[in-house]
């Protein structure tokens, strides 16, 4: 088994305009998906959500967020899979895809 980082990008648009019920439904989809990964032994670390603000340090410049919404990294998780193809396949159930977001799947470089 190899390890992969799931980087969740975008898909956070319009949450502020959603009703409580719609937000709860999105949350429940995520919880079900994560639970499914965990039950099949693929979830190494649930990871964390990230705050939307931050600093960008580049050369000698330090600038504030925000970043472009579609590229904004909202969180990450660590999964275990046979290979990159399987890791990519597993990410297809992520609810972020229903909201125009993306999952970036990156193999962890082994020691």
């Amino acid at each position: 088994m190899s390890e992969f980082l799931y980087i969740y990008r975008g898909g956070m648009r319009d949450f502020r305009k959603q009703s409580p019920e719609e937000m709860q439904q999105v949350m429940q989809k995520w919880m079900t998906w994560m639970q499914g990964l965990a039950e099949k032994g693929h979830l190494k670390d649930r990871g964390h959500p990230l705050e939307p603000d931050g600093k960008l340090v580049s050369g000698k410049n330090v600038t504030d967020g925000p970043y472009a919404e579609k590229d904004l990294v909202g969180g990450f998780s660590l999964v275990e899979a046979k290979d990159l193809a399987q890791a990519a396949e597993l990410s297809k159930g992520c609810p972020i895809l229903e909201r125009g977001g993306a999952v970036e799947v990156r193999p962890i470089m082994q020691m």
Partner: protein, 427 residues
């Protein structure tokens, strides 16, 4: 625990966001003041957003309500500290929030479990402001206390989103002119506001039970919300009056019949034809107990009478064994308390059950203001049904055709079509 169906252990979070949203908006409005209602809603929305982000990774905390409350409280503290020079908050709390000595204890007290429950009730009383129409009051209750978005309110009442938006925005503007949440200890206005709350919850329940929306899920939700809020009244010492108990009894006894109102093919099933084994016996028992408990004091409310009628139906083993005489007498009482052609129509239908279709038709013809029923599909439907029972198929068919034209949704349309077909089979 009240009779409103609380979520079962297997699904502990059903409508959690919706209900917590209502509680937290009420609590925050008390601290911020009514003129900052939009700010309170923003803080709650933010807390729900955070819950969504954190819980989707880490799962639900052991006590999700407490988690949301703490998150909203912390955010409120930030807002209060940041903006206390720029904004005014609740006038009665201003001095307490200005001093560091009293700031924390004031906030902690405002977010105590009892305080929040009181605030929910006070918000309910605030929403039935007499300057608002009943429709606006109900929309506001759904929006603020039940966490329905404007779109969801529009869907519930089958109006356009723009119309719902306009109604809610106007109502909120008017509420913002109130200095604070309604004071429950304000004895002068308490009774009249409580009566208005009863009426609003009754309308909300009826919209779910008899409304035009054909989606069963939407209708069940409206009934459930009405029952949840009526249960809040029932749990509060000041608000648990006999009419409150009778209203909740009425809701329980009607809700008990909901599973049988639509059959397995999604078709409407009228009371005499319902499979009574599908009636929820637990709700019937709760309704009976509440109705018994409501029989104190000397005032008989319309809810007492309606609950008693519902109880006559719920306690009859078959339609034929229903005590129609008693039901007719109760309808007579109800007509005196609240004259309405719809009630008169129901009374006539009960007379038909008791004394035959001709007697029923006579009673319908005697309804004085029946022109107010001209768009009500169940008026020609009842006429058709009784004509059919008298064997006058042509006349029956005409009435059912009128009813079909008035049907408000596909379920009603299918029902009227099946009645038209019943006439053809016999003529």
């Amino acid at each position: 625990m009240g009779p409103a169906a609380k979520s079962s252990a297997g699904d502990p979070v059903e409508h959690l966001f919706r209900h917590e949203s209502g509680r937290l908006v009420a609590a925050l409005t008390r601290v911020f003041g009514f003129h900052n209602l939009a700010l309170a809603e923003d803080v709650v929305q933010d807390a729900l957003c955070r819950a969504l982000e954190v819980w989707k990774h880490h799962g639900m905390p052991d006590n999700p309500s407490a988690w949301l409350m703490t998150t909203a409280k912390n955010h409120a503290i930030d807002v209060l500290r940041r903006e206390r020079t720029a904004r005014t908050f609740a006038p009665e709390l201003t001095r307490l929030l200005e001093s560091e000595w009293t700031f924390r204890p004031t906030i902690e007290a405002a977010f105590g479990a009892h305080a929040i429950q009181d605030d929910e009730l006070r918000m309910m009383f605030s929403c039935v402001d007499p300057r608002l129409t009943e429709e606006a009051q109900v929309a506001l209750i759904l929006h603020i206390l039940c966490g329905f978005s404007v779109g969801e309110v529009a869907n519930a009442f089958l109006c356009s989103a723009a119309a719902a938006e306009k109604r809610i925005t106007r109502a909120k503007k008017l509420l913002a002119t109130a200095p604070r949440l309604f004071e429950l200890a304000d004895a002068a206005d308490f009774q009249s506001r409580l009566t208005a709350v009863h009426r609003a919850l009754y309308l909300l329940f009826n919209e779910g039970y008899h409304g035009a929306n054909s989606k069963t899920a939407v209708r069940v939700e409206l009934c459930r919300e009405a029952m949840r809020l009526a249960t809040l009244l029932h749990e509060h010492s000041l608000a648990a009056t006999p009419p409150t108990l009778a209203l909740l009894a009425l809701m329980c006894l009607h809700a008990a019949r909901m599973p049988a109102r639509v059959d397995e093919r999604g078709s409407l099933s009228l009371l005499p034809d319902q499979d009574r084994s599908q009636w929820n016996q637990q709700l019937i028992a709760q309704g009976q107990k509440l109705l018994e408990d409501s029989a104190t004091g000397d005032a008989v409310s319309e809810y007492h009478v309606e609950a008693a009628i519902a109880w006559c139906h719920a306690s009859a083993p078959t339609a034929g064994q229903t005590n129609w005489e008693q039901i007719i007498a109760l309808y007579d009482t109800l007509l005196r308390l609240r004259p309405s052609p719809v009630i008169a129509l129901n009374r006539a239908i009960a007379i038909a059950q008791h004394a035959g279709p001709e007697a029923g038709l006579t009673a319908i013809r005697a309804i004085s203001d029946c022109e107010r029923l001209s768009t009500y599909p169940f008026y020609p439907m009842a006429l058709g049904e009784l004509e059919l029972q008298c064997g006058r198929f042509c006349s029956a068919r005409l009435h059912f055709t009128t009813a079909l034209a008035l049907a408000r949704n596909p379920t009603e349309q299918r029902f009227m079509e099946s009645r038209i077909n019943a006439c053809s089979g016999q003529s």
